[in-house]
Amino acid sequence: MPDRQRLVVIGGDAAGMSAASQVRRRRPDWQITVFERGDFTSYSA
């Protein structure tokens, strides 16, 4: 599926932000949007 352009991530903690970061690194042209219910990302529970 590398031809697809728009990535949406639901949830901005460890799993969601790790996925988003990997895609960003490898696919600089993709549009990446993360929706997070809270105020924070990648916090240490």
Partner: protein, 411 residues
């Protein structure tokens, strides 16, 4: 988060590995206070609500990652709505709890549930000089370990000043003016200015399930080893998923940041056209209460008995360093293995500083399919400041190995 409450980590911001702003600078459009209410897997859109403006919008996607996490179990008990009853799940739970402690000058805390978070919170509240009661439903805390090791932890909890109440279950809460004043069990009532519920979590998979993404019996979203769900264009990672236990082959849900990070990374690599796969889990975990370190991997005796697996166990109390070396403290190690082959099935460790991370030796051995004899003679590191000449995990392995191949005797 418990270490923030306890004051060991004094800056809440330092708990945040990377802020929304830092991600935005990298070109990741992070929208906080935005809740996804619905996934339309056919049209490939999500319905999003801005929690600030309360406006809804529909956002298209080509690929979707569901990383909705897990939610803490909140029992439906009388009085549960009272103020001052907290769970520890989100950052805002932690900040709200911290604020409540200060605002209401809490003196007495009751923790319900003696698992990982429960005992970490017990340490934190002791450090905050609260009178701390911990109510646990079984005889021994830390139900992911066998009772004999759990009882060691009971002892330390009591020694450090926790009012430990075992074999009791919370049945309700008393309140005055809308604020909690006590936790009731079937036997007694325990005064509380603040209550922390630490009763485990379950995968937050309702959103996925409503969109037709299959969810397994554990409640987690079913994914393959590349983190893809059964729905085209949708993958999932972290606490909301179901994963394979490498020892039992069962599908389980485990909420741990270490797994979430790995799954997220694997998910992202695959989405970007790379190739990575998640191997599964062993059930490895570690925590501590004050100076007592607690760790486990694989299957304990209780889990083996429940599955009717014929096993041997080896248990030893030894020391974390050479006995004569300063700073040496007690460590108890238990290993379990298949009776017929001696193949390692699990390990548990309770002991002083330096004890806990030894679980990684056992986890690696378990992953690699080593036997107790392999483990006994494995070339591990030794010098007096670090371990006795036979590492405690090797002594436990030796004791277990003596029974391998022998006929089962009544326990």
């Amino acid at each position: 988060m418990p270490y923030y409450i306890g004051g060991l980590v004094d800056d809440a911001d330092s708990l945040i590995a990377r802020s929304p702003e830092a991600f935005r600078e990298q070109g990741i459009d992070v929208r906080t206070r935005h809740e996804v209410e619905e996934i339309d897997a056919e049209r490939r859109t999500v319905l999003v609500r801005d929690l600030g403006t309360r406006e809804r919008s529909t956002e298209p996607y080509d690929n979707l990652v569901i990383a909705t996490g897990a939610e803490p179990a909140v029992p439906d008990l009388p009085g549960i709505q009272a103020g001052g009853i907290f769970k520890m799940s989100w950052m805002h739970d932690m900040l709200a709890l911290d604020q409540y402690l200060v605002e209401h000058q809490c003196r007495r805390a009751v923790i319900v549930g003696g698992g990982y978070i429960g005992i970490e919170m017990a340490e934190a509240l002791l450090l905050r000089e609260l009178e701390t009661t911990l109510i646990h439903s079984r005889r021994a805390v830390m139900p992911s370990l066998d009772e004999d090791l759990g009882l060691l932890i009971n002892g330390t909890l009591t020694d450090e000043g926790v009012n430990l109440i075992t074999s009791q279950r919370a049945v309700g809460f008393e309140a005055r003016d809308g604020r909690v004043t006590a936790v009731r069990t079937e036997e007694a009532s325990y005064p509380a200015d603040i209550v922390i519920l630490c009763l485990g979590t379950r995968p937050r998979s309702d959103l996925a399930s409503a969109a037709g993404v299959p969810v397994g019996p554990s409640g987690g979203i079913i994914v393959n080893d590349r983190m893809m769900t059964a729905k085209d264009g949708i993958c999932a990672a972290g606490d909301c998923t179901e994963m394979r236990h490498l020892v039992t082959g069962e599908q389980v849900s485990v909420a741990l940041g270490t797994i979430a990070n790995k799954q997220g990374r694997i998910c992202g690599i695959n989405l970007a056209g790379g190739d990575a796969s998640f191997p599964g889990i062993l059930g490895t975990a570690i925590t501590r209460f004050c100076d007592l370190e607690i760790a486990r991997t694989g299957l304990n005796e209780r889990q083996l008995i429940r599955r009717n697996i014929d096993y041997v166990a080896g248990k030893i109390e030894s020391s974390t360093r050479s006995g004569y070396f300063p700073g040496s403290s007690s460590i108890t190690v238990k290993v379990t293995a298949e009776r017929e082959t001696g193949k390692l099935l699990g390990g548990q460790i309770v002991g002083g500083p330096g004890a806990g991370k030894r679980i990684d030796t056992l986890a690696t051995a378990l992953f690699s399919g080593l036997t107790l004899t392999d483990l006994e003679y494995l070339d591990l590191s030794y010098a007096p400041p670090f371990s006795p000449v036979w590492d405690p995990v090797q002594i436990a392995a030796r004791i277990g190995a003596r029974q391998v191949g022998s006929p089962k005797t009544a326990i």
